[in-house]
Symmetry: C2
């Protein structure tokens, strides 16, 4: 199927307009016209081959919201016009223990990424959401609550589920004191979600100018993590800490804030290791360090429904697709509140202009 989008043809050149072919829809596929796509750090890492596994050309984007254009004849759960989403995965083996438990993100064969993934059936590569359309097996299509602003809902598909899943796994709720480390795309969703779950939320940041914003988003307290006195006041007091910071940093500073049996879950993997956390801090309070990767499809739908009930979307800055390279540069400087979302109408307009010229 013919598609247009913005992609990279190698690691050095900026993203540019690209015509490419997606697979033809199969009977169990949903063909989606993309309205919005969020911009995730992974998009940049992959476009620039910073993980060393990029197959070019690559079309990034895995925070996709759109309307169903058409469905294959075996598709039962969606129909033309539905508001739908696609996140980080478009397929998985469906056979392993993890898939059977609805934890496709831990598929033992390996899930198929929404872009730069090798498709299960065709063997071709997958292309992401910086594009006018996408074709996805209905199992990996999510329903977006119609009451949510569609653009703001796009980042829920990655930033939202990445923070929702560990909060749910560790049963965060009323009566819990929960820390969120970092106020970026992930962190700001963590604050909103943990607040909506009823927890007492403390936001840790290195920037004193984020205090007001953090409170507006739902934080009950804001702690400057560079301030030893502020940190010391919270020692041994947290049930759970969600650490969204991917840059290498001192984990011990947060580990000692956990209560006995408390857990800190990391959702960002640094390019170089964190300083090694002290074993003593684990042993003396039976504390735990854990990791978490996005979330399963069933859990992603639960997250979207939860966001629909609570009126939660991402705070976004909308951009036309022509500004994606500038957005990448600003994202590297954390100069965005809190997620860029591409308005895909800009792609159609460009195509139109080219066609008209």
């Amino acid at each position: 199927m013919e598609s247009i989008g913005y992609g990279a043809v190698n690691a050095r050149q900026p993203l540019a307009k690209l015509d490419f072919a997606r697979r033809e829809p199969r009977p169990d596929d949903v063909h989606i016209d993309i309205l919005y796509c969020g911009v995730c750090h992974s998009d940049l890492h992959t476009a620039r081959d910073e993980w060393g596994n990029t197959v070019y050309p690559v079309v990034p984007g895995h925070e996709i919201v759109g309307r169903v254009h058409s469905v294959g004849q075996q598709v039962t759960r969606f129909r033309e016009g539905d508001l739908v989403g696609v996140g980080c995965m478009v397929d998985s083996c469906q056979q392993c223990a993890s898939c059977k438990e609805g934890l496709e993100q831990y598929c033992e064969v390996g899930f198929v990424g929404t872009y730069n993934g090798e498709e299960m059936h065709s063997g071709g590569m997958s292309y992401g959401g910086y594009s006018n359309n996408i074709v996805v097996n209905e199992k990996f299509v999510l329903r977006i609550p119609e009451n949510l602003p569609a653009a703001g809902a796009a980042p829920l598909l990655c930033a939202g589920i990445t923070t929702f899943s560990p909060l749910r796994q560790w049963k965060v709720g009323k009566g819990h004191k929960v820390g969120i480390v970092g106020l970026g795309g992930l962190g700001h969703m963590g604050v909103k979600l943990a607040h909506a779950m009823g927890a007492h939320v403390v936001l840790f940041t290195t920037s004193s100018n984020k205090t007001e914003d953090a409170r507006r988003l739902g934080a009950d307290e804001v702690v400057l993590s560079k301030d030893a006195d502020q940190m010391a006041a919270h020692q041994n007091s947290f049930d759970f800490i969600l650490n969204t910071v991917a840059a290498p940093h001192d984990l011990d500073a947060f580990m000692v804030l956990l209560k006995r049996d408390g857990t800190m879950t990391l959702v960002g993997a640094p390019a170089t290791p964190h300083p090694s956390p002290q074993v003593f801090n684990f042993i003396m309070k039976r504390r735990r360090l854990a990791g978490s990767l996005i979330g399963g499809i069933r859990e992603t739908q639960e997250m979207l429904d939860f966001c629909g009930q609570h009126g939660i979307v991402s705070d976004i800055e909308m951009i036309p697709i022509q500004e994606i390279n500038t957005a990448f540069e600003r994202m590297l400087k954390s100069d965005v509140k809190y997620r860029f979302v591409i308005d895909m109408a800009s792609l159609a307009n460009e195509a139109q202009a080219v066609k008209g010229a």
Copy 2:
């Protein structure tokens, strides 16, 4: 109360015979004649002030088994002649949340160590089990099953509970594949206990000559952790790994052997940090790294009862107290299978000989 024992008067001199005074028994105290005392690495660290907190003179020893000599008038659970044990703790605040949950080892005020601890009531220091007797509040006295050989039971009070507690906390049992890293005093107890709990036990060691012994102790498989092929064969397969090695080592080699949602618990704290574990290994399988410190008094009694039911004691090498300094040196070289236990009759004999001279 007058006591004799072996202790250190400073960090440089070997342990030697020492006369010292314990507190007089209070109405809720049990006065115990010590029969046997296990030799733990902590004894050596403290005697040599390797943790920088030793108050001299110090009398080590916190794997104590003895017979009740007499009890205070308020003591209800023990009487003269009972076979009893004392582990790493002799008191705690009894007021904090951890104490109230029976987790005195995590007492928020800090538990009183069996030696080199500041006593709650007298303010004096506590003296350990390398001695003819000890006076302990009945709350911190354990009952030793009479069917167990008393000398072999002594190491259960530290090495036993340190491995039992995390195995229980992480619900190890039938159908679980459990790894034990290291075959020393702790590791050999871990193998015995995990086996008795019904798990499939894999022992990881760096010494190929430990294979036969590990199997005799209850390991179903033995893996040479230096052998990459042997390690690779176990990737993503463990429910739980108990890591008893205190020397700095590569944690990732074991983290990758855990299944999704698997946990590795560390019970040894290295003097210098382990190499920093890779966050990627946590995130991609939602794995966890945890710590654990000995166990609570209630759980220690459960462990002793469990050992009584299953006929489990430590493999020991019995020594007279006069050989303690040689034993320390051999322990440093891991030259013991698997715990030295002091026969306290040797102390009485020495005292007798001196008296007779």
